[in-house]
Amino acid sequence: MAAPILNLHNITKSFTRGGEEITVLRNLNLQVAEGEFLGIMGPSGSGKTTMLNLIAGLDKPNRGEVWIGGQCVSTMSESQLASWRTRSIGFIFQFYHLLPVLTAYENVELPLLLLPLSSAKRRQQVLNVLDLVGLTDRMHHRPGQLSGGQQQRVGIARAIVTDPTLIVADEPTGDLDARSAVEILNLMGELQKGLNKTILLVTHDPRAAERAQRIVHLEKGQLLESAEMEAAGLLNDGAGSNAIQASEPRTK
């Protein structure tokens, strides 16, 4: 395995709800190599999104450290995190979360406004990624004028426009029809192969997970590789297609 670009070291994360402490992630460890496409599966409430939030610096662990590209994210201040996120993390959401008042072009341009770029350079980068996701002809459309698949393409373009170290995708096909989902997964595959992007894909969908080079399962606050899951009898087939049914609710 190449040098890890992401290293989660003994991560524990718990929340207090209604006076009760719920431990979502327990002594979790994960290493992801540069250029790797990692699929993360697990049942609802297993802590997948929590883990992504920790990786993206949107939340802090109770214990442990998150290292990305040689930087310890979990000890950064909020303003340091904001600046770091612009350059290091591209986030793709299930519900796209595009700003409805902005056009596709302007949505993609939004993170670039934080970087010291000339307007010509900014424009060039935006046009490049819109071309990459095949939306040059729709760049002046607002989100409301685009289909779900097109909106997600804009979301992907926005995630990659700053050339981040890591792309984090949280159920990117969860709100799409089958055909659009395949298109989006193809696009992500192309990004990973063509641009050597490191991608973390959280999904419920086994077909989506199949696109990943490696799949890990989040169970009871800990990560298991597919092989370990199979050995533990939690998977019915090698691709992990029944993992959802086999999973248990959130651990306490």
Partner: protein, 452 residues
């Protein structure tokens, strides 16, 4: 114009504060737009997304700024005329025991530097008089009606009686009067100047003549020729006539009736003496009050501001309530209107704020985005409302036609434009600070967990 604006700003702490706040808002806004033009456009687009809400909020702010501009104009003017100005410090001599004050005309001679009867106590050891002829004037008030059968506001004319050459050097706000009008007054004994409202109510124009039947000096009925109009503003309902024409009328009355008019020796109402400073006021005031020449008449010496202050005493409570209850109350309402509108927009856009944070926008940038939207709406609405109030009232009526005693109209000062900008900015800031802070504090993980 610029001199007047400078005087308004430098001479009043509210104007100065409003100007500083307004300029800061302009500079900060310009800096924000120049450094983040795209984010500014994003703010504009956000404001456009619910155009009805933005319009209604702007309208509410505008209406309140409009009302505050009107109220504050009156308060500002009343404060201004009660302030003892170091540059234009005046002694006012009146009779102590009657309202209106009635002094024998001959007694003005004791205080007139041009008169041989000038009090010797008012001359210093070097033989120099303590004030010159241009610092002295006498006032009488003559009122009459154009229709004795219908004594009503539109037929009544109330004259300030004075020597024409004293108008420019001594009268407040008439320093810029066209000297040709003074010359026209000097050339024609029956000449008079009328304010715009008076010309309108009498349906007269410059050059017209009219007769008055006196209402305060029975039998002293006079004919006038209008030689000019007084400048728009506080003199809109006033009129000025010549002192010698007034005096001659009493002489004529005596000749025609073989007796003096009953008020012949009570026709001088005020004496004004302009002095350099408070020390000179005390010195001259002491001499006048203690002079044996004035003792039988018990004159009173006071400043213009204290005289006006006494006159305004009847309005004290209403002015106090306007200043300290109505205006703060309206500012509070403006802030609440803004707080309500911005709270709604922040609640609606929580996920967008979270997305911006995910993209790398810092909490302070999110805070500034929301604050900027609110301040933009508040400042523009306030500025436009104050500008519209200024243009509408000053151009149409020469000011706000809200009569308080001798003051028929209150001209909105140019500095009011800064009031609108400042109150719009401040109330938007106060109203939106908390909602903007809420947006700043949005926890991304919580927002997305609710979305999912």
């Amino acid at each position: 114009m610029f001199t007047r604006i400078y005087a308004q700003i430098a001479g009043d702490y509210v104007n100065l504060a409003a100007t500083i706040i307004g300029l800061l808002a302009i500079v900060a806004g310009a800096a924000y737009i120049l450094s983040n033009p795209r984010l500014f456009l994003l703010g504009l687009k956000n404001l456009r997304r619910n155009l009805l809400r933005t319009t209604l909020t702007s309208a509410a702010i505008g209406v309140l700024a409009f009302v505050i501009t009107m109220i504050w104009t009156i308060i500002y003017f009343i404060d201004l005329i009660q302030v003892e100005r170091s540059k234009d410090f005046k002694i006012i001599v009146t009779y102590k025991w009657s309202v209106p004050s009635q002094i024998p005309m001959t007694h003005a001679d004791y205080l007139n530097p041009s008169s041989p009867k000038f009090l010797p106590e008012l001359v210093d050891a070097n033989g120099k008089k303590l004030y010159g002829p241009n610092d002295f004037m006498t006032w009488s008030f003559y009122g009459g009606t154009t229709d004795p059968n219908k004594v009503a506001p539109d037929t009544l004319v109330f004259f300030f009686v004075m020597h024409p050459e004293q108008i420019i050097p001594m009268m407040d706000d008439l320093g810029d009067l066209d000297p040709k009008l003074v010359k026209a007054m000097q050339e024609n004994p029956q000449a008079c100047l009328l304010g715009a409202d008076k010309l309108k109510s009498l349906n007269k124009r410059v050059g017209d003549r009219f007769k008055l039947t006196s209402v305060n000096y029975k039998g002293i009925d006079l004919e006038f020729e209008i030689v000019g109009a007084l400048p728009d503003g506080r003199y809109n309902a006033s009129a000025i006539m010549r002192m010698d024409y007034f005096n001659n009328a009493f002489d004529l009355y005596k000749r025609n009736n073989n007796r003096e008019h009953t008020l012949a020796h009570k026709r001088l109402n005020l004496i004004w003496i302009r002095v350099g400073d408070r020390d000179m006021f005390d010195k001259i005031g002491g001499i006048v009050e203690e002079s044996p020449q004035f003792a039988p008449f018990l004159v009173k010496v006071e400043t213009a501001s204290s005289l006006i202050g006494s006159f305004l005493e009847a309005y004290r409570m209403i002015i106090w309530a306007m200043k300290w209850v109505l205006v703060p109350g309206m500012l509070l309402i403006m802030s609440l209107v803004m707080a309500n509108a911005i709270s709604i927009t922040v609640r609606e856009r929580r996920s967008e704020m979270a997305v911006m944070k995910v993209l790398g926008y810092s909490p302070n940038q999110v805070f500034l985005l929301i604050l900027g939207e609110a301040i933009f709406v508040g400042a523009i609405a306030g500025l436009l409302a104050a500008g519209a109030t200024y243009a509408f009232f000053n151009l149409k009526w020469g000011g706000i036609p809200f009569r308080i005693g001798f003051f028929p109209v209150f001209r909105i000062p140019e500095a009011a434009l800064m009031w609108g900008l400042a109150i719009g900015t401040i109330t938007a800031f106060v109203g939106s600070a908390l909602p903007a802070w809420t947006a700043r504090s949005v926890k991304v993980s919580e927002v997305f967990s609710k979305v999912a």
